[in-house]
Point group: C2
Chain length 416, copies 2
């Protein structure tokens, strides 16, 4: 167990090797139920008690049926379990809502809890009719295999084209007790059988009122899950959901003025950031994680817009793949980020994780730099692009990945 | 010479095999001056007389130095010549403005006209210092080779990674005379040595006041050059410029109420559309031209937003490359186009140029369709995607191309 003490913040936390089962009172399961041709494809996360819940959903106007049902079932701010299948998004199907509702009913019945307290998510092919059969056939095994050591299996069962599971857990101190937040996520790349969807499921034993949980999640997602891009396409089924069951025993956090709110939100931020970065790093066909920091902006909105445009530019992403310190493309992306910026002030540095660094642009003019050093820096797994605007004090970070021939190969593969 | 009569419009026109020299009183030249390692790289377009001029420029906040000088030189609505080099964008260079200004001075001096009446454009690598020498060394040959049969050479000299020249000309009737509009363009794909820039240069012998010309060009560009996308990246140097020298002898068009305004604008629209489509079709690595029509929208803005999002989606573009009628990705792109749309009304058809057609989505639900037929349709050079919103009477069209492994290979190639 590694102890990370963030010097700039009050909160002390321990990053564990844990997952969604690390907070008290959570069990999970992940099994193969037949949604996909092979591999685990049905996950269940269960809290021992009815929990506060909060979710954020895709901004795509076309929303998957499961999101509609989850929104309905969490309208009172309470839920106890999350069921998620991979392999079929249950979106743009004529009977999608029925199926999503029935899935909750099946799980609720088997667990002996109200179907209204079950949340549902799906990821996979859009527009392929989803049969209720794999839910029906798999439910017995799914519920029987629920336990506190199966977090890994749930993390695996929600994957589609991801190359690895994505999970984390952090233990931290509240004013009078210790609490934990855990989480799993899956990536947004799309592939044969062409799907979709960024999912994040977070569990915590903190006691917190639903509306305060919603506020914290919404703010945190803006800086984490919303600051990554794999291919610029926003899925119909993206969602991030938290269950907070209160088993840590703290006095319930009832407002953002509560002294426990700040440490809770900080750790929630860290968990979401880790899960989000893991998605960017595992983008389809990706070979390099690109972190773009925009510094000294007049406001955060501007810094975010620029950072996100840079990591979303096909040309920047292809240049990184080619280990080309192509400053023209960076300036070009900054220029069309839609915010007002005087590029004649801008300095840009490219940097590797081991702090080798090269200045490639000064005061908006491209300078001559050591091309060999730049080539080396661009060849590392983790590239940092630091953009200094010299206009103010705000900053933002976005994460993306390079655009590779492998990405196109994957995404041009036939559906069926 | 082919005669095209557009039945739905009043204007009758003849599409010719012509180019920018087809309108009366224009000469052109294209030579090799040493901006690139090989091939023609310096173009000149000259009108016999001082002409009305209008331009639209990139919306990128980072603007190339040539655009600044062109804007300055055309501020009185008059110009006589356009000089354009390829191989270097003259952007983000410390002395870029100086160089652009000096290029105009050299050309003006050699032609015996004021440098204020010369417009300048550049396309090529961003941020590489541009020497004035190729202008100085090439000017004599450039001016000596000016003639009315060298339109092709100018069309060639502005190219970077384009695989072919792009030009057209249309002759049409005004109320009392015959007039012609010609044009050349180059593509927006970016490549080794990491290119940029969509350029369009249009010549006409119509007599038209500068402000009315500006109005017509601005409106036409919105529906043509602004409705294509190769890779979603907006260059620093994009510009479209018209010279109108009045040699057709019509009474000068002085307002949009002039009876000659409508036919002029229609033909300008057709010329710009052809030049724009040629760019989309010749996108880097592209194998299929994608035309997306959005029909029955409540307003044009909405139709445009959806059409443009569809042809800009990496996932849609990669699916087309894979000949995959991936309706989920289409609905997904429609959903994040940023406009309010009820996808439950939407029908979608995929269609080839020879009118084979397959319905892939009805009332927002993906229907089963003949996959073999869809595969055949997607294998043609020109794919049409028709999206019916069933909300109103407006429509829009956008043009793009597929995303291929070749695109990534090209754009990950090292700069130098």
């Amino acid at each position: 167990m590694e102890t990370i003490i963030k010097s700039e913040k009050a909160t002390q936390w321990k990053k564990t090797e844990g997952n969604i089962c690390s907070p008290s009172g959570f069990a999970a399961a992940g099994i193969q139920a037949g949604f996909k041709k092979s591999g685990k494809d049905l996950a269940l996360i269960l809290s021992r008690t009815l929990s506060s819940t909060a979710s954020v959903y895709t901004q795509n106007a076309v929303k998957g049926a499961p999101l509609v049902i989850t929104k309905e079932h969490s309208s009172n701010g309470l839920a106890q379990a999350i069921v998620c299948n991979s392999g079929n998004a249950n979106t743009c199907n004529a009977n999608g809502l029925e199926i999503a509702r029935e899935a909750c009913a099946i799980v609720g019945e088997s667990l002996g809890i109200l179907e209204e307290n079950i949340l549902v998510a799906s990821t996979g092919v859009i527009g392929k009719p989803l049969s209720i059969d794999p839910f029906k056939n798999g439910i017995k095994e799914l519920v029987e295999s629920l336990n506190e050591t199966s977090g890994d299996f749930a993390a695996e069962a929600i994957l589609t084209t991801d190359t690895d599971i994505k999970q984390t857990a952090i233990q931290f101190e509240l004013s009078e007790t210790t609490a934990t937040i855990g989480g799993i996520s899956k990536g947004s790349g799309m592939i044969h059988p062409n799907m979709a969807t960024m999912l994040g499921f977070i569990t915590t034993d903190v006691a917190i009122a639903p509306d305060v949980l919603q506020q914290a999640l919404k703010e945190v997602v803006m800086d984490t899950f919303n600051m990554i891009s794999v291919d610029g396409d926003t899925s119909t089924n993206d969602m991030v959901t938290v269950l907070a069951n209160g088993e840590a025993g703290n006095n319930e956090i009832q407002s953002d003025q509560d002294p426990d709110y700040k440490p809770f939100k900080e750790v929630l931020h860290e968990v979401c950031k880790e899960l989000a970065i893991a998605i960017a790093e595992d983008g389809e066909g990706a070979s390099t994680l690109i972190t773009c920091n925009v510094l000294n902006a007049t406001n955060e909105y501007k810094a975010k817009a620029i950072a996100k445009q840079v990591i979303s530019s096909n040309l920047v992403k292809a240049a990184v793949y080619g280990r080309d310190a192509n400053v023209g493309r960076l300036l070009c992306a900054i220029g069309y980020s839609g915010v007002d910026v005087d590029y004649r002030n801008i300095d840009i540095y490219m940097r590797s994780e081991d702090y080798r660094s090269v200045c490639v642009c000064e005061a908006g003019s491209i300078v001559s730099f050591d091309e060999d050093k730049a080539y080396d820096i661009l060849g590392t797994d983790k590239l940092f692009i630091d953009i200094y605007l010299y206009e103010g004090q705000e900053q933002a970070t976005a994460w993306g990945c390079d655009l590779t021939t492998e990405y196109v190969t994957i995404n041009s593969a036939y559906r069926t």
